[in-house]
Amino acid sequence: MSAALRTGTESFLARFEGLRARLPGDLVARQAAAEAFRSAGLPTVRDEAWKYTSLRPLADNDFREALTSVEGGSLPKIPAIEGPRAVFVDGRLREDLSSLPDTLHFTRFANDPSFGTLSRPDQQPVVALNTMLAEDGAVISVAEGVDAGTLVLVSLAAETEGRSVTFHPRHTIRLAEGAKLTVVELSVGRGRYLHNPVFSIEVASDATLTHIRLQNEAMEAFHLATIYATVQSRGFYDAFTLTLGGQVSRAEFHARLVGPNATVHLNAAQLLGGKQVGDVTTVVVHDAPNCASRQTVKNVLTDKARGVFQGRIEVERIAQKTDGYQMSQALLLSPDAEIDCKPELQIYADDVKCSHGATIGELDDDQLFYLRARGIPEQEARSILIRAFLDDALQSVSHEGAHALLEQAIDGWWQRQSASAA
């Protein structure tokens, strides 16, 4: 491990030592996570799972003195979307800003600190980091057969003068049989901070969880999200992530289909500019017969941005009649942009239909010419083509409010790009 990453690792461990007396819940689990984190350290590009995403820029910050929360810091605006909401500021629930629905059971991790059982922490150092330092989070459960509507889960990072903030929210979402819920997760902020959320999601038989994520963190921020989802028979976990912010960000999904006829969708789009690095990593495990998984991941990259997509479909021996599909497409809009893509299939059952595809290229000259010939100015023509390119992934979002919000965010991104290009 490089000296910088070692220093980064040490600074997080020191932070844990400083905080441990005040942390809620099972200290034994935290201690074990700390040990795992100490031996694994912050992942390096020599770790296969982090081959394309370097955490060097994160490790260069000293989080030893990081604040846990800020009183009275200036807050960014919450994106406009209707509906009940749970608002976290710097990782802590702010009840004064929240309005919780009565269709579901909501508590905060600070009061109900259960870590659940997640995959081995020594192999997931970023999850170990969360387990070690988690202070708060949303604990949501929806009762059998209840359609709980929509909950907006907001993470705000407040402006902090010259100091680094790190927060590690631990969220749990449990849907009982036949339950329904849509979670619209929004992350916005100001300044330089690390947002390191971990989700533990359980979707019971016949339940449906729609999880729409808009990651619009500050450009200097780091966003490392890990989402574990388990889906039972005929259950449906439908996730969409739009990544716009963060200097280094990663959305890592681990979805397990454990009952027959379960379905998972992990769609994503990343729009990156400047020197941003955005990473979508997915692992879908088919552990029961007749399950289906769909992934469509789109990258639009400009300036010196780098997009990463690592997707793995694992089909266990028992998972006959699996239908797995994965598509990764990237548009490179500038000479210095880069895409790294690793779509993996790992298959142990014979009666399956699995495929993946990947395409990389620039905007099609013919299409551009077609639009220009019809009197559409170049910028607008490019915008139309990019929107069309993204539409494949976006159309999977059927929630109206969320869809509008995503459209709006994409418009905003494009306007900023056009303005900086002009």
């Binding site: 296969e48 021996r317 006959q320 990237a330 490179l332 809009l333 500038s334 000479p335 210095d336 942009a337 880069e338 895409i339 790294d340 893509c341 690793k342 779509p343 993996e344 299939l345 790992q346 298959i347 142990y348 059952a349 014979d350 009666d351 399956v352 239909k353 699995c354 495929s355 993946h356 595809g357 990947a358 395409t359 990389i360 290229g361 620039e362």
Partner: protein, 496 residues
């Protein structure tokens, strides 16, 4: 029917066991003591009367190897190899210069006969040209590698007249030292990876091919590799250079006798293509895969790489991999020259307990470079078959183009098929496309064949051959026939 197929049939009828090429030959061997150290390397170098620079190069590679760790990223598992428990040198004891058939060890000729080397007559091995009025010999020159030393090279003279050099690399070291020194290790450096470094330190022989400027090699070149003595790792080193405008097609085929202990094979193949040169490299690999329970079999850890240095140069790799207990092999192209072209066509079939982790790397450096990858993986029995490939487009590769297709076919529910492609693009004007599918044999197709009276086994063979057609059609005629047979034989016992 081609000669190859005939000999195949003959051999098939001779041996009762599942592996059709399992036999050993008793020949007096000159064997080095087991173990690897500087003395072994000095001994190999001395036996071959090598110049000082080559010994220094070997020792440097050995020093690099000592500091390396055996790679573990491939999806293969095997007991730890004891590198001190291997003979690093074994050569048939040589009488000076076998100039006619009578002087060639008869045991050796018998081996070739059993092998079914695609030679029209065994006599060709001794360099005897067919007499006037005889059926003309097929135009394939063979450099047969018997364990570590090339025993005979045919067609040498007629090739020499065309200006083509085709000889054992140990001879090239003496006869063409400047060429060897200039190109050896220039594509796969001595310390490139664990197995390449090992090879560089202890390689004993292999083929050397040099096609001078503007020459189109008048015949297909072919080498037969065969691991013979017990416990000798075989460390081949092949170097092919095609100068400006030259072209050559090289065929490589492998069989090995049956035995229980695992054997290590760590070969290195380097290809260099200058401006407008074309190299076509075809392999049919059918080493002993181990028995149905995974006992025995060859470890095939090979580094193959081509440098397309010149503008418009082209390298095409075609491989049919049916043998070996473990295959770890990634024939690659470094596309440096403008508009250079790299191709990779592969069929990898695994059965029983075989493990194959194979694929390619296409590194696009120059403008307008193009690459095509077609990979067909077939897993049966309890085997694991992995495609692992890299397509990397570097910033200066304007207008580069890649198309990749990898398909996997699963036969039975105890095997695994995996696809691990890495795709990296750093140039917006490059176009990269990748598609992969995994499926089982289509029931409708099977039904169609069965209904027309084909047995289950024949039907599967037919469908598998159809599945691989895109690759098999790239093989030279002689090999295509052999390859089709091999696929059917390798699948035996997996259907039912």
């Amino acid at each position: 029917m081609a000669a190859v197929a005939e000999t195949l049939d003959t051999v098939q009828s001779l041996t009762g066991s599942g592996y059709k090429w399992g036999f050993e030959t008793d020949i007096e061997m000159d064997v080095a003591p087991k173990g690897l150290n500087e003395d072994t390397i000095r001994m190999i170098s001395a036996r071959k009367a090598e110049p000082e620079w080559l010994l220094a190069w070997r020792l440097k590679a050995y020093a690099a190897w000592l500091n390396m760790v055996e790679p573990d990223w491939a999806k293969v598992g095997y007991p730890k190899i004891d590198y001190q428990d291997i003979h690093y040198y074994a050569a048939p004891k040589k009488k000076p210069g076998p100039k006619s058939l009578d002087e060639v060890d008869p045991e050796l000729l018998k081996t070739y006969a059993k092998l079914g080397i695609p030679l029209k007559e065994q006599a060709l091995l001794a360099g005897v040209e067919p007499a006037e009025g005889d059926e003309p010999a097929r135009n394939i020159a063979v450099d047969a590698v018997f364990d570590s030393v090339s025993v005979a090279t045919t067609f040498r003279k007629s090739l020499y007249e065309a200006g083509v050099i085709f000889c054992p690399i140990s001879e090239a070291v003496h006869d063409h030292p400047d060429l060897v020194r200039q190109y050896l290790g220039s594509v796969v450096p001595a310390g490139d990876n664990y197995f390449a470094a090992l090879n560089s330190a202890v390689f004993t022989d292999g083929s050397f091919v040099f096609i001078p400027k503007g020459v189109r090699c008048p015949m297909e070149l072919s080498t037969y590799f065969r691991i013979n003595a017990k416990n000798t790792g075989q460390f081949e080193r092949t170097l092919i250079i095609a100068e400006e405008g030259a072209s050559v097609s090289y065929l490589e085929g492998c069989t090995a006798p049956q035995r229980d202990e695992n054997q290590l094979h760590a070969a290195v193949v380097e290809l260099v293509a200058l401006d407008d040169a074309t190299i076509k490299y075809s392999t049919v690999q059918n080493w002993y895969p181990g028995d149905a329970n995974g006992k025995g079999g060859i470890y095939n850890f090979v580094t193959k790489r081509a440098a397309c240095r010149g503008a418009r140069s082209k390298v095409s790799w075609t491989q049919v991999e049916t043998g070996s207990a473990i295959t770890w092999k990634y024939p690659s192209c470094i596309l440096q020259g403008e508009d250079s072209v790299g191709e990779f066509y592969s069929v990898a079939l695994t059965n029983n307990r075989q493990q194959a982790d194979t694929g390619t790397k296409m590194i696009h450096i120059g403008k307008g470079t193009r690459s095509t990858i077609v990979s067909k993986g077939i897993s049966a029995g309890r085997s694991d078959n992995t495609y692992r490939g890299l397509v990397r487009i570097l910033p200066k590769a304007h207008g580069a183009r890649n198309f990749t297709q990898c398909d996997s076919l699963l036969i039975g529910d105890q095997c695994g098929a995996h696809t691990v492609p890495y795709i990296e693009s750093r140039n917006a004007t490059a176009q990269v496309e990748h598609e992969a599918t995994t499926s089982k044999i289509n029931d409708d197709q099977l039904f169609y064949c069965r209904q027309r009276g084909l047995s289950q086994e024949d039907a599967v063979g037919l469908i598998v051959n159809g599945f691989c057609k895109d690759v098999l059609k790239e093989l030279p005629m002689e090999f295509a026939v052999e390859a089709q047979k091999l696929l059917a034989i390798s699948l035996e016992g997996s259907v039912g």
